[in-house]
């Protein structure tokens, strides 16, 4: 009895050690970045190891005073929110039609939408540049919203569609015999039922948008449209050379909002990601 209890205790210790190591492995780069961000620049590039780093707000002041970080942050947030809204407005009805209505070529359209994701972005980069230039949208947040929305629309539609397919048809039939129109069914029955899926799709789209680099670089040319991801690149060149502590801080700032969102909705996210795949 006692040996069994000891064994169980040991296995729990081993489990904690493994999980603890994994947590340290995951969080270490973030903390490392943070420690770099709050050190003087000279201390970062010194070849000798420094065990007790000096705390410095040089980089913090620099990114806010010398660089238009507030604009970058604002651009990122607006472009992401705008693109996710556009995606949801377009993807929800599209997913509903693809999951519920029977029409010729339904599967082909579904696959076509997904296939747009398979193409390398560089292939369409130049045409998109000309497209936005002709529309007069270069270097605007509107262009970023549109391009992020376009890039992510397929994956958002596909994710929401897979959730909608799991909703029992009986629910819709019940609503229809209760007197609801297609739009009311979508709004009052389907959307609430697939909310975890919609949240999952929105978060994935937001993460993709935060990380988007190529199109932003192409479209943005000033602080009017520069986002955090492109701002990061600005710290790697020029007469100042590589500004590691500033890079680290900006990367950290780019990471924090996503981290907060994912932690806040992780219950929905994990439930959502499995619900779409497995019939309940």
């Amino acid at each position: 009895m006692a040996s069994q209890r000891r064994k169980r205790g040991e296995s729990r210790v081993i489990r904690y050690i493994i999980l603890g190591s994994w947590a340290v492995f995951c969080i270490a780069p973030v903390l490392w970045f943070l420690s770099i961000g709050f050190r003087p620049r000279t201390e970062i590039i010194t070849p000798q190891p420094i065990y007790w780093p000096t705390f410095s707000l040089d980089a913090w002041h620099m990114i806010w005073s010398d660089w238009p970080m507030a604009s970058y942050l604002r651009n990122s947030v607006l472009a992401i929110i705008g693109s996710v809204i556009i995606d949801l407005v377009l993807a929800i009805p599209a997913a509903y039609a693809l999951s519920r209505y029977r029409f010729r070529g339904r599967e082909d359209i579904g696959f076509y939408i997904l296939s747009t994701r398979m193409m390398a972005p560089a292939i369409v980069a130049i045409p998109i540049f000309f497209l936005f230039r002709n529309m007069g949208l270069l270097d605007t947040i509107w262009a970023l919203m549109l391009i992020y929305a376009a890039v992510n629309l397929s994956i958002v539609t596909w994710i929401i569609r897979s959730y909608m397919m799991d909703i029992p048809k009986e629910l819709e039939d019940a609503a229809r015999t209760d007197g609801a129109s297609d739009l009311r069914i979508l709004w009052e029955i389907i959307i609430p039922a697939v909310l975890p899926g919609i949240i999952t799709a929105a978060v994935i789209a937001a993460i993709f948008a935060i990380n988007e680099f190529l199109f932003t670089l192409l479209i943005a040319s000033t602080k009017n449209a520069y986002t955090m991801s492109v701002a990061l690149a600005n710290f790697t060149g020029g007469s100042d050379g590589l500004i590691y502590n500033a890079i680290a801080l900006v990367a950290f700032l780019a990471f924090v909002p996503v981290f907060i969102v994912v932690v806040a909705i992780q219950k929905h996210l994990s439930r959502g990601l499995t619900m779409g795949a497995v019939k309940g």
């Binding site: 029992p168 009986e170 629910l171 039939d173 019940a174 609503a175 229809r176 015999t177 209760d178 007197g179 609801a180 129109s181 009311r184 009052e188 029955i189 609430p192 039922a193 909310l195």
Partner: protein, 349 residues
Amino acid sequence: MARIELSGIQKKWGAVWGVRDVNIDIADKEFIVFLGPSGCGKTTTMRMIAGLEDPSEGQITVDGELMNEVDARDRDVAMVFQGYALYPNMTIYENIRFPLRMREVPKADHDRLVREAARMVELEEYLDRKPAALSGGQRQRAALARAIVRKPQCFLMDEPLSNLDAKLRQAMRVQIKHLQRQLKITTVYVTHDQIEAMTLADRIVIMEKGMIQQTGTPDEIYSDPANTFVAGFIGAPPMNLIPGELLGGTFRAPGIEIHDVKLTVDGKVTLGVRPEDCHVTPEAPNMTGTVYGVEPTGDMTFLTMRVGEHLIEVKADREYRRALDLPETVAFDRKRLYFFDTKGGQRLR
């Protein structure tokens, strides 16, 4: 008021027949049950009445008004589904209120009507709960409340009790019948459970392979089956069907002999006899066999006899006991013997 007529209804998906030539006249306030095995077309027929499926051919009329082109949401029917189909994001109160909102019933009446419907199904205490927080029986009652709240022309119920345990099913059956009598609303009920059909229906429509096999009151269906399918489907245990030969008024099959059969046909026929019409007796027996199984149930005993190649079910007295493989003799109730054409299965009269 709702008299529903289905004339020449067909439903086909490509080359697959769902429903074939269904003709039924459902009277106002009638409780009609579609009964049949899975895939027999009973649910499809109901869905066509609801407007959730379009018939390939034929006409559906309600009080003489053609319904074929009328959208489901504009038909004044309320449907109760097998899986309850309660809206998971809404409370029970909101679920029951949903049809009132959709049909634009004046808002001032909503609360009164919802509480009235909830009271009828004894669900008042649970109005603020979500469906997930209710038991199966409570969910089914909530689905019923949602159906009755706006007093539709017609109730459609698609196997509403099949997810409940036996005891709850019996209780809900009584409740459904009581509600239907109280509200006096035409009701179409789909089930594969013959006990539900027999206990609830004013009339039963038995379906198989998309076609109606027989329509009649529960007594007619039980006592006067039109063919071997109906005979074998109704009754628990079902009617014994024994193929044999009729010659000069005498039916013979291995181990069975019945004289003075009042039928003019000769040749291969199938005898139908219900287990309760078989009496264990040594006097003037019609059937001789051996005991294959004895199953006491408390109020009676099921005796299974091996007769020739067949196993025949007999309902014996509650005290009946006999060792296996011993010989046994049985006399049939002569007034309750049925003969069917062996080839087509149709009743011979």
